[in-house]
């Protein structure tokens, strides 16, 4: 018998001791468990509070963007103004002074307004945008000349702010932004039902503008779309191909180790550095146009590639080796093994990586500032080489504007950005479910 052997009494004692000690420690263990859960719940709750705060702040300032103040005016298409020569010449019609028609309509509504400065502030109630709409109408239908139409035209942004309760009527006149006289006109229009909040089509169809009431987000949406299109078309295939090669084909040696380390490093490079690189290489060296989605897409491709490669490699690593062996054992070549079996199984993970990368690219503004996408661009971009801006840069531009009405636009643009993101993520989820397979 060696000294490790115990007598029956000793065994019983040892068992008792174990039971006692376990019992003693149970309370402490359960306490630790409860504490740990509480920490977890606290963390989740804190996260939710922050997200809730962010959303409520954005939505509370931004939700009014769906409506905009319009003023109803009786516009008489005065032939004297629109087409003084009476020749229906397109050139003449398109260069006519349509703002005079609006001014005339306002004068008609408030005939007792006298004096230059008073009249000027009266004209200020309607937005400049009205004249462009009138011109479009006349250009489309020259027979309108000489007739009278009752139209809802965009009101000035200060009128809009008042309508939305963002200007306090009780403030002293000099702090209010609207004079007592202007308030009187507005009240008179309101009383006649000639001033109303209507759906804000302009915001969703216009490009940027210096006038808040005319500024729209569509130019930035289209710019973002083109930029992300370039990014997706380049970064996903390149990223997946690189990941597949590194994971499935490349030999393990110093060169591949070096590449791997550098891919990981690239993922951590500040995005503005990629912007500088894009400026130096794509614009200076290759002579690509400035402010263009194609350059933005290239820069964002550089930025998202490491993310996609890393996620794709992780997805490939997650494919069970038994599947590879099964295919190889059947006599499939390496490319067939990857294409038929490994890639389809890794696809959901790769898509997740791509979507994370794309979401980051969508929200990126710093590198795009470097390549000129911060320019003030009114026109809606029609292609990959047209100057354009993107949603986050548009948010930055508007947030920087002094007019108070731009505050609402900023929040509105953020809402559109979040909507964009939501659509992208939903697409990713749907695609992922489509590709997802169990084994």
């Amino acid at each position: 018998m060696s000294d490790t052997d115990l007598g029956p009494a000793a065994v019983e004692n040892a068992a008792k001791r174990t039971r006692r000690l376990v019992e003693k420690s149970l309370k402490r263990r359960y306490r630790a468990e409860r504490r740990f859960r509480a920490y977890g719940m606290l963390a989740v709750a804190l996260g939710l509070v922050f997200v809730g705060f962010l959303f409520s702040s954005i939505i509370s300032t931004g939700w009014t963007i769906f409506q905009q103040s319009y003023v109803q005016l009786d516009i008489r298409y005065d032939a004297e103004v629109v087409d003084p020569a009476g020749e229906r010449d397109e050139q003449a019609i398109s260069t006519a002074d349509y703002s005079a028609l609006i001014k005339a309509a306002l004068r008609e509504r408030f005939p007792d307004v006298e004096g230059r400065s008073e009249r000027r502030s009266l004209y200020g109630l309607a937005s400049d945008a009205g004249q462009f709409e009138l011109r479009e109408r006349v250009m489309a239908d020259p027979d309108l000349i000489g007739s009278t139409q009752t139209l809802w035209l965009l009101a000035d942004d200060r009128v809009d702010l008042l309508m939305k309760g963002k200007i306090d009527r009780d403030l002293p006149e000099d702090q209010r932004g609207l004079s007592d006289q202007e308030l009187g006109w507005i009240d008179s229009l309101l009383a006649n039902g000639r001033l109303d909040l209507r759906f804000n089509r302009a915001f969703f169809t216009n490009g940027d503008s210096r006038e808040p009431e005319q500024a729209g987000v569509w130019g930035a949406v289209v710019g973002s779309f083109f930029t992300l299109l370039v990014t997706l078309l380049l970064s996903f295939p390149i990223g997946v191909a690189a990941a597949v090669y590194l994971e499935e084909f490349a030999p393990r040696n110093r060169v591949t180790d070096f590449i791997e380390v550098n891919i990981n490093n690239l993922a951590a490079v500040p995005s503005i550095v990629f912007g500088l690189l894009g400026l130096a290489v794509f614009i200076q060296l290759f002579g690509l146009p400035r402010s263009a989605p194609v350059v933005g897409g290239l820069v964002l491709t550089l930025m998202t590639l490491p993310t996609i490669i890393i996620a794709s490699r992780a997805a490939l690593k997650g494919v069970p080796p038994s599947i590879r062996e099964a295919a190889l054992g059947m006599g499939a070549s390496q490319v067939q093994t990857v294409a038929h079996h490994v890639l389809p199984l890794a696809m959901p993970g790769m898509l997740t990586g791509a979507i994370i990368g794309m979401a980051r690219a969508l929200g990126e503004s710093a590198p795009l500032l470097m390549i000129g996408m911060v320019a003030f661009i009114v026109d809606i971009p029609g292609g990959l080489t047209d100057p354009s801006t993107v949603l986050p840069v548009q948010v930055y531009l508007w947030a920087d504007s002094p007019e108070r009405a731009f505050l609402e636009r900023t929040s509105g643009a953020i809402l559109v950005l979040l909507g964009f993101l939501l659509i992208m993520n939903a697409t990713a989820v749907i695609l992922r479910q489509k590709f997802e397979r169990r084994w």
């Binding site: 062996e325 054992g329 059947m330 006599g331 499939a332």
Partner: protein, 292 residues
């Protein structure tokens, strides 16, 4: 000999006091002669002096063994003795492990399979493999079986492919169970059915040799019995190498048995002889359950 760790212990004086079972079996001398006749009259695969290295590890030492047509040869031995490694040499699946190095000569029907001109795709179409864990592709039952014929272009049209799928499933004894759900995922079948699906997939390309790496270790006794019956039928047409941890299974299904020990092929012989009258001390210790 670099890989000899202990002095060249005589095989007959190997320590017999292993009843306690705590000490690992002593490492045998590298390159020792295999007991028994390694040759057969009508070999399909001939291996001579096969060595496998995984980096610094010498996994198989000088293994020479013939595999005959229409025979089932069982490879037995304790874990880590190199039987799976040896099996994976026969279809060059070791090529997929970057650090693996194989030396020696292995020929299939007289043709060196490690020759530079030998295409591995061709080889693996001739030497099929069934793995330890059933690993059907995450595709339908039909696609699983049709995959091999499809990539090798064995079927001219859809009807022929359907026929191959049906006969393969029938020969694997699975047809009756799955004929109504060929479009269901192969992974939804039970473990035993999955393994038979893997066998059907393997025989669908009509290989010459089938390698089975512990095909029943993840299955219950009933499924195991079905696979064993299947192996018995399949040997009419194929040479089958089966690695197994179950000595009863080796005794039931095989005609010849090879005993591996720490990278050495210790003894080869007819299954009856190995189990009733082992000639080597290590073989005897193993089959009588002294270690392993």
């Amino acid at each position: 000999m670099v890989f000899v760790s202990s002095a060249e212990a005589s095989i007959k004086t190997a320590p017999a006091s292993r009843a306690s079972g705590s000490a690992p079996p002593e490492r045998t001398a590298a390159g020792q002669r295999t007991v028994g006749d390694i040759t057969v009259k009508n070999p399909v695969i001939v291996c001579r002096d096969v060595n496998v290295y995984y980096g610094d590890k010498h996994a198989i030492r000088n293994v020479s063994l013939d595999i005959a047509h229409n025979e089932v040869i069982a490879m037995i031995g304790p874990s880590g003795c190199g039987k799976s490694t040896f099996l994976r040499c026969l279809n060059r699946l070791n090529d997929t492990i970057p650090t693996a190095l194989v030396s020696g000569a292995i020929s299939l029907e007289g043709q060196d399979i490690y020759d530079k001109r030998q295409d591995v795709v061709q080889l693996r179409a001739r030497v099929g493999m069934v793995f330890q864990k059933p690993n059907p592709f995450p595709k339908s039952v039909y696609e699983n079986v049709a995959y091999g014929p499809r990539i090798h272009g064995l079927a001219a049209d859809r009807t022929e492919l359907d026929e191959i799928v049906q006969t393969s499933l029938q020969r694997a004894g699975l047809w009756e169970e799955v004929k109504d759900r060929l479009e269901q995922p192969g992974t939804a079948l039970s473990g035993g059915q999955q393994q038979r699906l893997c066998i059907a997939r393997t025989i669908a390309v009509n290989p010459e040799v089938i390698l089975m790496d512990e095909p029943c270790s993840a299955l219950d006794p009933i499924a195991t019995a079905r696979i064993e019956d299947l192996i018995d039928e399949l040997k009419q047409n194929y040479a089958i190498c089966i690695v197994t941890h179950s000595m009863q299974q080796a005794a039931r299904v095989s005609q010849r048995t090879a005993y591996f020990h720490l990278g050495d092929l210790i003894e080869v012989g007819s299954t009856d002889q190995i189990f009733t009258n082992p000639r080597h001390k290590l073989t005897e210790d193993y089959i009588t359950g002294r270690f392993g």
